[in-house]
């Protein structure tokens, strides 16, 4: 391959692989009957993916991360709309870092 084409080829490979992951999961589900059990699995799967995204971020991010997640989640649990809840969490974390620095 001509050297100047290699970066373009690399980007194309990355794009195709990523597109495959985006459409592949739903494509596989075409072959799985959507029984109540499978729906229960998918529902718990969704919450579990969120847990798996949040918890490691909290544990590796220190106090600021706990504050951001705790404040945002706590406000959301009290029916605060998502955006203010999220911004309050991030602001709390930023204040904590400013105070700690």
């Amino acid at each position: 391959m001509a050297p100047e084409l290699a970066p373009m080829a690399a980007v194309a490979v990355m794009a195709l692989v990523t597109l495959g992951t985006r459409v592949g999961g739903l494509w596989l589900m075409r072959f799985v009957p959507l029984t109540p059990r499978i729906e229960a699995f998918l529902r718990h799967l969704s919450a579990s993916v969120l847990v798996a995204l949040v918890l490691p971020a909290a544990l590796t991010g220190g106090t600021a991360a706990w504050l951001a997640i705790g404040v945002a989640g706590g406000l959301a649990a009290r029916r605060t709309p998502i955006l203010p809840a999220m911004l309050a969490g991030v602001a709390a974390a930023a204040l904590w870092r400013a105070a700690a620095a």
């Binding site: 050297p3 970066p7 080829a9 690399a10 980007v11 194309a12 490979v13 990355m14 794009a15 692989v17 990523t18 597109l19 495959g20 992951t21 985006r22 459409v23 592949g24 999961g25 739903l26 494509w27 596989l28 589900m29 009957p33 959507l34 229960a40 699995f41 998918l42 529902r43 718990h44 799967l45 969704s46 919450a47 579990s48 993916v49 969120l50 847990v51 798996a52 995204l53 949040v54 918890l55 490691p56 971020a57 909290a58 590796t60 991010g61 991360a65 951001a68 997640i69 945002a72 989640g73 406000l75 959301a76 649990a77 998502i82 955006l83 999220m86 969490g89 991030v90 974390a93 870092r97």
Partner: protein
């Protein structure tokens, strides 16, 4: 009513311009926070020797931040295409779960619409749309609109970062690195249905944390998601069977 028998009783899904606009509007605030990360990626890519045009093209076509940062680590001449493909697959394999989890709502769509809305799937618009679908939204344009606005800011940020350098210094200063975790936390709270949810969540959390140490980058999300999903399924099956 829907045509396919397996979806009998569900209102039909559709994709409308109004849904796309609503998705864009509702995800716009979060998309603004994709901008600094795009800047950071553009700057990092330029430092790594990528032309700004190439970095921008990558964001345009790949649109998956974590995998793009991971690819920079492998960006040495001659470019290892196989290794790049594997790393991108590993980091983005969680999309498979996200797409599968939307099956009850997206499978009834015609294939063209299904693939169009999935082409812009990312964590944030997935969480947003899924929660809206569960609350009764029937317009899959939400997913597309949310994805499009995240994509636009990610690409614009990359282009600016490649040309100007990041110029923001440390993203951590303003807590920007915690925007996504805070958003996912609010989405997670919305999923809570009662104490029966606690055991699967604990399983998901424990497996995800173990995966952070034991698995290649990104796979802890897959392991935690599958483990929590299975735990929830088994617990529900047991309580129904008892």
């Amino acid at each position: 009513m829907t045509t396919a028998g397996r979806y009998a009783g569900r209102p039909p899904m559709l994709v409308t311009p109004q849904g796309v606009l609503r998705g864009m509007r509702e995800m716009l605030p979060l998309a603004c926070f994709a901008l600094p990360f795009g800047l950071a990626f553009g700057a990092a890519a330029t430092e790594r020797g990528l032309a700004p045009e190439l970095a921008t093209l990558m964001s345009l076509l790949v649109f998956a931040g974590a995998s793009q940062f991971a690819a920079l680590e492998l960006w040495v001449e001659p470019l290892p295409l196989g290794a790049l493909a594997l790393v991108v697959l590993a980091v983005n394999a969680r999309h498979l779960l996200l797409g599968a989890a939307l099956a009850p709502w997206l499978l009834p769509l015609p294939p063209g619409q299904r693939h169009l809305v999935l082409a812009f799937l990312s964590d944030a618009n997935w969480a947003h749309s899924r929660s809206a679908f569960e609350r009764g939204a029937r317009d899959a344009g939400l997913l597309l609109g949310g994805g499009l606005v995240m994509w636009a800011f990610w690409v614009a940020g990359t282009a600016a970062g490649g040309l100007l350098g990041s110029g923001l210094g440390d993203l951590r200063r303003f807590g920007l690195d915690l925007m996504m975790p805070a958003f996912f936390a609010t989405m997670l709270v919305g999923q809570w249905r009662g104490r029966a949810d606690l055991p699967p969540w604990v399983v998901a959390g424990a497996v995800a944390l173990a995966g952070v140490w034991l698995l290649p980058p990104g796979w802890h999300v897959i392991a935690g998601g599958l483990a929590g999903g299975l735990a929830g399924l088994l617990l529900e099956a047991r309580s129904r069977g008892a």
